[in-house]
């Protein structure tokens, strides 16, 4: 992250104003990217699937900037926003979405597997909780190499009920690994509501079972997320081990493109939309409607450029079909 200028005012004591305005733009960019993705699905322009994080943008905006450039990211299937904030290139992301050779994974992975090992983005994840055991290895690797890196490991409420969650958080706990477990609790594991998934009220309560710090925060608030992740990163770098952060959030859209959303009411979605993270952050930053409109316009242009890049990009050569399986 670029060093903040001294004259920068700190928003809520957490984020420099100039950085915060850029984050607001990244949130708008993420939403525009995904609205565009949704439209492309509807028009039948995308062969596969993807998962939209619309409504959850505050978590990505707050978490990424609380970390250093050389830290690691283990993303989820609903992770476009996290990678955009991490520094992902929109053209290559869109190209991957369309399965093109110029995409991050040469069109072999799609939205669900976007990764950029070069920038320490160790990939989005097609398997719920599939990245959690991997987090143990990344944490161990940091520890053995004696760097002061940390890992941000993302997952959803659904993942917290996989056995992998238990094995991983326990191992990270006993070995004091520098991992930030950030649970994006968006209230639904596909169609299963939180109250039907859990008997406990807070997923962060489970931190106690692993002897690690746990906290539940407002995941619609960029500042709250930034503060929690920043503090967790500081703890990890000091050698005080992992933290389990549960960020309460909501996805406005269905689980994936085939979701008819029979499990929730329109009224419920409307209620959550009143807490919209983008509007809320804009208000906090005192960004007026005119500036927002400009931001949205700029985002649309960027996304259109990305779509054009992706559409003009070549398909993978059939002759290259077997490439990339073995080193």
């Amino acid at each position: 992250m670029p060093k903040a200028k001294k004259k920068d005012q700190l928003i809520s004591g957490e984020i420099e104003k100039s950085k915060a305005e850029d984050l607001l733009y990244k949130m708008v960019l993420t939403r525009t990217f995904e609205e565009n993705a949704e439209e492309m699905f509807a028009l039948g322009k995308v062969h596969g699937t993807g998962h939209l994080s619309i409504g959850q943008e505050a978590i990505a905006a707050g978490a990424g900037p609380a970390l250093n450039r050389d830290d690691y990211l283990l993303n989820t299937h609903r992770g476009h926003g996290h990678f955009i904030v991490w520094g992902g290139d929109l053209n290559r992301m869109m190209a991957e979405f369309l399965g093109k050779e110029t995409g991050y994974c040469r069109g072999r992975g799609g939205s669900m597997h976007i990764a950029d090992v070069e920038s320490n983005n160790l990939g989005a994840q097609g398997i719920v909780a599939g990245n959690l055991p991997i987090s143990v290895g990344v944490g161990l690797s940091i520890k053995l190499r004696k760097t002061d890196q940390v890992l941000l490991a993302l997952f959803g409420d659904g993942a917290a009920n996989e056995g992998a969650f238990h094995e991983s958080l326990n191992m990270a706990g006993i070995w004091n690994l520098p991992v930030i477990y950030l649970c994006e609790n968006n209230q639904y594991a596909m169609s299963l509501a939180f109250s039907r998934e859990f008997r406990i009220e807070q997923i962060s309560d489970r931190a106690r079972a692993y002897g690690i710090k746990g906290l539940t925060i407002d995941g619609m608030d960029v500042i709250a997320v930034h503060k929690a992740v920043r503090e967790a990163a500081e703890r990890a770098r000091k050698g005080n081990g992992p933290t389990l952060i549960e960020a309460i959030t909501y996805r406005y859209k269905g689980h994936s493109k085939s979701d008819r959303q029979l499990y929730r009411t329109r009224e419920e979605v409307k209620q959550w939309m009143k807490k919209d993270p983008i509007k809320r952050f804009a208000k906090l930053l005192d960004v007026d409607d005119k500036t927002m409109k400009e931001m949205e316009k700029k985002a649309k242009e960027k996304i259109q450029e990305a779509v054009a890049f992706a559409e003009e990009s070549p398909e993978p050569e059939i002759s290259s079909i077997m490439e990339g399986i073995y080193a």
């Binding site: 992975g109 191992m171 990339g324």
Partner: protein
């Protein structure tokens, strides 16, 4: 010439690899003070300390995931699954993550890790501690599968596996741990994907894996007295398979018998058989390719039943004799 056991050969490979490359570390259940359930890592904790000989909770998915995560960030982990059967608890990490990651990421990730898997029957450990599951992994693109049958191969292949930049499933056999043989003291590697003609013969090509290699050698000695000479080929690496020496041997002998411990249906024998059928050796076959493999059943506890569940020397003798004498 120095003779050491298969287990000592494995330990020496681990020790030398760790000494040479500080990115190499071991992770598994009871591999530290205990020395591993079969003693393979005994003494390594004293030499390398708990940061590189990592005892884990009983969390197989965690062990495999730790290998994947450490490998993709530049380390070279060697995981141990106490009994190869327990790998079922780590399948998602190995098959869904480790094996596919490089491909899914467009060829831009490297996953240099080894999973060591002690397998096989013959110890009275019954159905959940005696399986031979190697062929499951042969079916997974992105993995390499290695199965040494001698102390010499065990050391050279393990060192090669650790140097390999892809995930390697390394199947050891519990009954082989105490077998002794010539093993050089210095570091050496045996290339992955290279088979070995263990014994030359003119009458029948026997393609055998793991503990079935020494059993086939025993069978060959018996048959040699009858004037039947077996040619024995040990693929050593099941994936990628070195097909050429198998094909050449079958062209020479005109007959092939595949011997493995894993259950017959869906086993590696089917693959070997198909390789022969699809090759130029087909025209040279004087008899059907035969498979001698484990019965299609879980491994029984009872000593006699366990013995009869998988091929033994006398079964190989009998089957080889029938093939050579034109019974089939």
């Amino acid at each position: 010439m120095r003779e050491i056991s298969y287990m000592e050969a494995l330990r020496e490979a681990l020790q030398q690899a760790m000494e040479k490359d500080e990115r190499v570390f071991l992770i598994g259940e009871d591999i530290g003070v205990y020395g591993g359930a079969f003693g393979v890592s005994a003494g390594l904790l004293e030499e390398f300390g708990p940061n590189r000989i990592i005892d884990t909770p009983i969390s197989e998915a965690g062990i495999a995931g730790a290998c994947v995560g450490a490998a993709v960030t530049g380390m070279r982990p060697v995981g141990e699954i106490m009994f190869s059967d327990f790998v079922v608890l780590a399948m998602s990490q190995i098959v869904m993550q480790g094996a596919k990651m490089r491909f899914m990421f467009g060829g831009k990730a490297q996953l240099p890790f080894v999973i060591r898997l002690p397998g096989g029957s013959g110890t009275g450990a019954a159905a959940q501690h005696s399986e031979s599951l190697e062929n499951w992994f042969v079916h997974v693109p992105g993995l390499k599968v290695v199965m040494p049958s001698s102390p010499y191969d065990a050391k050279g292949l393990l060192l090669a596996a650790i140097e390999e930049n892809n995930p390697v499933m390394f199947f050891e056999h519990k009954l082989l741990y105490k077998t002794k043989g010539y093993v050089p003291e210095e570091m050496y590697t045996i290339p992955i994907g290279k088979s070995k003609v263990v014994r030359e013969g003119k009458d029948l090509s026997v393609i055998a894996t793991s503990v079935m290699v020494p059993r086939s050698i025993e069978a060959a000695k018996i048959l040699s007295e009858e004037g039947i000479e077996l040619e024995i080929i040990d693929p050593r690496t099941l994936k990628p398979l070195d097909e050429e020496p198998i094909i050449e041997s079958v062209i020479k002998t005109g007959k092939a018998l595949v011997v493995h411990e894993a259950v017959k249906t869906g086993g590696f024998g089917g693959e070997i058989s198909a390789v022969i059928m699809e090759s130029s050796a087909f025209a040279y076959l004087d008899a059907p390719v035969r498979r001698l493999a484990g019965l299609d059943m879980p491994i029984p506890y009872n000593r006699t039943l366990e013995y009869h569940a998988v091929p033994q020397v006398e079964n190989i003798v009998e089957e080889a004799r029938k093939l050579v004498k034109g019974v089939y």
